[in-house]
């Protein structure tokens, strides 16, 4: 093969790994022959799953609300994104975290967010219907979307609405009456929060959810034409039976992996296949990666790279001694100009901290990530290195570490003009080719 043909092949391999994991491990890119082999490798779940670090259940509500307790889990998670051999699993964990967006800003209890993460980790490559049902009774979600205050006497429609708008059908596929019917079906769930008067009398384990019949609206409901005394699972089954749910999830996952939304026909075919296959996630992934569009030349670099993907790619290219997150939380981000910035500050500046989804719609995507603020603060990610790291001496060697195998002349010239290899690192991280994936 000629040099440019090799470069093109490597660029296609890197594309597959960027889309099907959270970042291209540079040595894996070099060791993989072609994009089809890369797909097979990325979807291979043969390696054993990682054992997440345990978190001790807090004894009571007040001691549970220490936001800094989430820093270690974030660092561990980013470590998994960088090095896990189960590539597609990490991509899907992020995808579901974003899909079922839940923010510690409101939940306030790191332990509950971590339990939700473990739940998502368990089901990420499994079955969507199972995941949906589990997350709908997940304590963090019950707090985040006000399920715990949704009772027969006082209805709270927050979860009912978002379950249809964001988690399943999508807008335009239900009426306001359906929102009411769903919300009524979801009544009755509470979380046992040790030390809170409202949890007195609950017999389930601390920090778990349970169903309290006295809070449940047991009258019949009519949801999307189905009339019955629906409960949580019953209502979710009604939502899962709809065409729109399969189509919407397939469309969203296709967009995540391919970079652009599918044509309507493709979305319907994939969506119905997903539903009719009982919502198994990996067959949908396999079907999407088998679409010609996935490996098409115009799919490469067609998506905006997120700050978390930038961080993962950077630390895969030039591994730091450790990835310490440091301070996180709504009121962090207050590093003074003189003090050293922690990674938590940096992610916070970029408004992209795992477990802190900015709103119910999840993390910013697409052109929202191409604003002046995001550009200028891409440099800040270098705070992950407390001192100058060792960097390849040649520009080509550096691009190879970042799995950037087709770099434009303009970018190459700008990076080459900088004589100091460690400062070249800053230019690669802020280069147009690194802003896309």
């Amino acid at each position: 093969m000629t040099r440019s043909a090799t470069a093109r092949q490597r660029a296609a391999v890197a594309h597959v790994f960027r889309r099907l994991s959270m970042g291209p491990q540079p040595d894996l890119v070099l060791a993989t022959a072609d994009p089809h082999a890369a797909i097979a490798r990325a979807l291979d779940l043969g390696a054993p799953a990682a054992v997440p670090p345990p978190m001790t259940a807090p004894p009571n509500y007040d001691s549970a609300r220490v936001v800094s307790a989430i820093a270690e889990p974030i660092a561990w998670w980013i470590g998994q994104m960088r090095t896990s051999p189960r590539l597609i699993e990490e991509r899907l964990i992020w995808f579901w975290h974003d899909h079922f967006a839940t923010g510690l800003q409101k939940v306030q209890i790191p332990y509950l967010m971590w339990q939700q993460h473990l739940l998502i980790r368990q089901h990420a490559t499994g079955n969507f219907a199972t995941l949906l049902k589990a997350i709908s009774r997940d304590p963090a979600m019950l707090v985040y979307l006000d399920g715990v205050t949704n009772t027969a006497r006082e209805r709270n429609e927050n979860f009912g609405r978002e379950a249809m708008e964001l988690f399943t059908l999508g807008r335009g596929n239900y009426t306001e009456q359906d929102v009411v019917a769903a919300a009524r079906s979801f009544t009755g769930w509470v979380v046992n929060v040790p030390g809170r008067p409202a949890s007195r009398g609950l017999t389930n384990a601390p920090w778990t959810s349970t169903f309290v019949p006295a809070r449940f609206d047991a009258a019949p409901k009519t949801l999307l034409g189905a009339t019955a005394n629906l409960d949580l699972d019953g209502a979710l089954d009604v939502l899962l039976a709809q065409d729109a749910t399969g189509i919407r999830i397939a469309t969203k996952l296709y967009t995540e992996l391919v970079g652009t939304p599918p044509p309507d026909k493709t979305a319907r075919r994939l969506g119905r296949g997903f539903r009719d296959g009982g919502y198994e996630i990996m067959p949908l992934v396999a079907a999407i990666t088998a679409e010609p569009a996935f490996l098409a030349a115009d799919a490469i670099g067609a998506k905006v790279r997120s700050p978390v993907e930038k961080l993962v790619g950077l630390t895969q290219a030039i591994p730091p001694a450790s990835v310490a997150v440091g301070k996180v939380g709504p009121r962090a981000g207050s590093g003074s100009a003189a003090g050293r910035l922690g990674l938590g500050d940096v992610l916070r500046t970029l408004d992209y901290v795992p477990f802190f989804a900015p709103n119910v719609a999840g993390f910013p995507k697409g052109t929202a990530l191409l604003g002046p603020h995001q550009f200028v603060h891409a440099f800040d990610l270098l705070a992950v290195y407390p001192s100058a790291p060792a960097v390849p001496a040649t520009v080509d060697g550096l691009f190879t570490r970042f799995a950037l195998h087709e770099v434009g002349d303009r970018t190459r010239a700008v990076v080459k003009r900088e004589p100091d290899p460690t400062r070249r690192l800053a230019l690669v991280v802020s280069a147009p080719e690194y802003a896309v994936t």
């Binding site: 207050s334 003074s336 500046t349 440099f379 700008v414």
Partner: protein
């Protein structure tokens, strides 16, 4: 709105609607409309040009996050219930406004401006069904969509409907990160954390970041082929670099007219609110001021405890900052083109908790500027009719204040905050 001492809304809607018909050239200051993404969507308002030869007006929002204690800001000292509800935290010598309410003693300069007639105090500001959560209530204030907050902020929608992607300096957040209030669907605001402007915070081992940014600017290319995403990125890099240079000029230009030095330290950390206001003063008195300046991170107003120690420092800093900004505005002769408005997610509980105050409901807010008819507006604060949780009930929806500010900016408030919120004539 019965019982509220707002005058009838006699401000003609014609005045602000008149501007909407004026379509700006597609190319403003060298920015093409669609450089950063698709052009303004069909149905979006056409860009509004300001009348020929005039400066844009500038709205400055002062966000007091955490929930500012209204009863310790605009104090109903003559209400017999006041000292009963605030036995240890009650203020002894407020700055009297009219014999019934007074400002906190730390708000000295604001009191002077009230007497000069350029400060409107709007009481009872809130919205229905406040659930008293910081998270939910801030989202409501940022989006102006209480109960069902969407993904764009109210000022982001203003930018969407006016400048679109063409001018990233039309909205500037002074704070450690972008504010959700300025997140648009097809526009960008800029956020700066200190007088350094649009600058990265690089680790020390990287050395001089100015040289790096100068090198980085060469990635930009206004003529890049926008069929590829990297081409659009190159165009955006060029525009960002242009914005960075212009911002640097505005912030680093000659000393402000009031002679005060610009706070150089990042206020976001150990700095003060006054430093943030100093940055804002530079921006609004610049030759081409932003249309929006949004000040965040001005201190922690969530005073559950330590109230008596924290409040004088918070409000003293706020007063000094407001004075810094307003004095610069006066000296520059642009008082008629600047409107300052406070925002905070809720007020605080009337009954103190011993060392502080818990989350409450409605609160008083300030609207300040050369075009403001000073005085008290909204339902007068009364401790006689608290709600079931012991909070001041709301009487003026905060979206009415937003609508007033948007109309003053010549925007269509209804398109941005929805129907039913008439711009009020105390701002002209």
């Amino acid at each position: 709105m019965s019982g509220i001492r707002f005058a009838e809304p006699d401000v003609s809607r014609r005045r602000f609607l008149a501007g909407v018909g004026t379509v700006a050239s597609a190319v403003v200051a060298g920015y093409t409309l669609d450089v950063w993404g698709r052009p303004l969507a069909a149905g979006a308002a056409a860009p509004v040009a300001s009348p020929k030869g005039t400066r844009h007006r500038t709205l400055v929002i002062v966000e007091l996050a955490g929930g500012n204690d209204t009863l310790d800001t605009v104090i109903p000292y003559a209400d017999p219930a006041y000292h009963r509800l605030r036995p240890t935290l009650g203020v002894e010598a407020p700055i009297d406004l009219d014999g019934s309410v007074g400002l906190h003693p730390s708000l000295v300069k604001l009191g002077e401006r009230y007497r000069a007639g350029t400060v409107a105090v709007v009481e009872g500001v809130g919205y229905p069904d406040n659930d008293l959560s910081h998270f939910a209530s801030l989202a409501n204030w940022w989006t102006a969509q209480p109960g069902a907050p969407g993904t764009t902020g109210w000022l982001g929608r203003y930018l969407d409907a006016t400048v679109g992607y063409e001018d990233p300096l039309a909205g500037v957040v002074v704070g450690p990160r972008p504010s959700p209030a300025l997140v648009g669907a097809r526009s960008f605001a800029t956020s700066i954390s200190d007088a350094g402007g649009l600058a990265p915070r690089v680790p020390a081992w990287l050395g001089n970041s100015h040289d790096l940014l100068d090198a980085w600017a060469h990635f930009g290319d206004r003529q890049a082929d926008r069929r590829a995403l990297t081409g659009r990125v190159r165009q955006a890099v060029a525009l960002t670099d242009d914005a960075r240079v212009k911002l640097g000029r505005a912030l680093g230009g000659p000393a402000p007219a009031d002679g005060a030095a610009l706070g150089a330290a990042a206020y976001g950390g150990g700095g003060t609110a006054e430093q943030a206001f100093a940055v804002a003063a530079r921006l609004v008195t610049a030759a081409r001021p932003p249309r929006l300046v949004y000040l965040t991170n001005l201190g922690d107003y969530d005073t559950h405890q330590g109230h008596a120690q924290r409040r004088p420092a918070l409000l003293g800093d706020l007063d000094a900052g407001l004075d810094r900004l307003l004095s610069a505005v006066d000296t520059a002769g642009v008082a008629d083109r600047v409107l300052v408005m406070t925002a905070s997610e809720f007020g605080r509980r009337a009954q103190e908790n011993g060392s502080g105050t818990d989350h409450g409901n409605a609160a008083a807010h300030f609207v300040i500027g050369g075009r403001v008819h000073g005085g008290r507006y909204g339902p007068p604060t009364s401790l006689a009719n608290l709600d079931a949780r012991g909070n001041l009930p709301f009487g003026v929806d905060f979206r009415t204040l937003y609508a007033t500010a948007l109309a003053w900016l010549d925007a269509d408030p209804e398109a941005i905050v929805g129907k039913g919120f008439a711009p009020q004539p105390f701002v002209t």
